[in-house]
Symmetry: C2
Subunit: 307 residues, 2 copies
């Protein structure tokens, strides 16, 4: 098994993780981002600029971001739902901006009340807007391996949506496994098919551990040559279709696995585990991440004295 020797991770806890929790104080949010900024992680999804009635957890996005101690080694990004959000992100000083479009038409309509085609037209406008402001726009193609309403989404459909985003000028792509339907073989299939026509665009994978396959899918992505992954501290995040299910793949578990396999993440795992323990205090409940509970594989235990 030949794997890349290094990968770049984006931590999505401050946005994707906290969005699925009761709103937390701005102080806690700022402390979380600052703590993450000191772990060595190269990219952090810091906030989203959405209407506070839609997502009250992000109502303090401007204030939180203004108070973050920016680490020049970290690329911070903001997620926006539309042109209005993109304007707010640009005004707040973000140069890395993300927008989501669902490969599943039904899922896209359910989320934003418009077709995937209409959303792609909007995306093209937002790309222009962000480029005019000197920024980079990344398109996240959600339901890339399946839709809770439509079932499996054909690879050709996902690649077509990605292709149209890239043709419109997207600087990078992320495939999101929104409800945890990816399998290792399907990960390799989609990445391979994507690379046939989009060889050079930066491609990231965002997995959920809904059905336990999160880390297996990360390994499959690595085997397909992907070197950009997303994770969420503590494994927060969730899936409205499965109330008891786990959420995003857990960043510290990803880092633990990758580093154990000799794949450099740039992340100091001990600092990341400390950040995870602080996040647990912030959210006030157990989180799905496992290394924080089990300890690292490299932890050696004392032999009980009776031996």
């Amino acid at each position: 098994m030949t794997l890349p020797t290094a990968v770049s991770l984006r931590e999505v806890g401050p946005r994707d993780g906290l969005q699925n929790e009761d709103p937390v104080p701005t102080d806690a949010k700022v402390a979380l981002i600052n703590g993450l900024s000191r772990t060595g992680v190269s990219r952090i999804e810091a906030v989203s600029f959405v209407h506070p009635r839609a997502i009250p957890q992000m109502a303090d996005a401007d204030e939180a971001w203004a108070r973050v101690e920016r680490n020049p080694a970290v690329t911070y990004s903001a997620l926006v739902p539309n042109s209005r959000g993109a304007s707010r992100a640009i005004d707040a000083g973000f140069t890395d901006i993300e927008v989501v479009v669902s490969a599943s038409d039904t899922h896209n309509r359910r989320n934003v009340n418009r077709s995937t085609d209409d959303s792609l037209a909007d995306v093209a406008e937002i790309i222009k807007q962000v480029h005019d402001a000197g920024g980079n726009l990344e398109v996240i193609v959600s339901t890339a391996w399946g839709c809770p309403y439509e079932g499996e989404v054909p690879v050709s459909r996902v690649v077509d949506v990605a292709r149209r985003a890239v043709d419109a000028g997207a600087d990078a792509l992320t495939y999101g496994d929104t409800t945890g339907m990816a399998t290792p073989t399907r990960v390799i299939d989609l990445v391979t098919r994507t690379r046939e026509t989009m060889r050079d665009v930066p491609l990231a994978l965002h997995f959920h551990n809904t059905r336990g396959m999160g880390l297996a899918n990360v390994v499959a992505g690595l085997q397909a040559g992907v070197v950009r992954f997303e994770g969420c501290l503590g494994g927060l995040g969730g899936c409205p279709f499965a109330p008891g299910a786990t959420g995003n793949v857990c960043t510290e578990d990803v880092v633990h696995m990758l580093e154990s396999m000799g794949c450099d993440t740039g992340v100091d795992l001990d600092r990341l585990l400390a950040a995870s323990r602080r996040l647990r205090e912030i959210v006030g409940h157990e989180m799905p991440g496992q290394v924080v509970k089990a300890g690292k594989s490299s932890d050696v235990h004392p032999v009980p004295s009776k031996v």
Copy 2:
């Protein structure tokens, strides 16, 4: 990614799973085994024959086994710690018997108060005893990827222990990742090294999901050509070194992943999920398995009417 088209699974819940729980009534244990026997799983580790003071959960092994409705399509096995246990298993009618030896000398001494070498000598005697009775003896090499006291166990050491067991007549091998220290790359490494000298001996892999890598390690095993795996219903089992950590890789999550990838397990997933829900009632607490909570990837949800 080329994977085997079919695998054989052994369900270890009635033994390995229940051993880590408060003792359950014999009726519940018999019902669990009978239910599993009807799922299509090809092998079930039914009981262990150990001293009831050491493991009170297995004190009713003889009675439980006597009351199981044997399905001729299922291979039932019993775990034994020593020659005395092997005699009990043979007397009870088992023809498939398992014995454990730890690749880590420290771990072996801690568990059975003797060196790995001494245990291998015992194993040779038990193999003879079981063969004389017309049975098959499988040797489980535990701590195959790491020991909580010694850290990583060298591949050469693990292969040497396996080799000596096979030379003594072992009919099959299982590598056990006792405390969840395997990684996909190390799985492939150990299997590849093992196959260099032991090409034909049936080889199974037993993973724990302690640090989230359980299913990733199963996929790595498949990629290395392994077609025999173990799992535990609900993901029960545990690790005394990590009280909050999860246990064995969860059988229904393994089946869900393998079947989703077109790898035939012979198991009816719906029946297995039903058995998992009944096991949850028996043990009386949430279990780590995720598909039973999240539903199958193939479950399609109705679109909310507001769309």
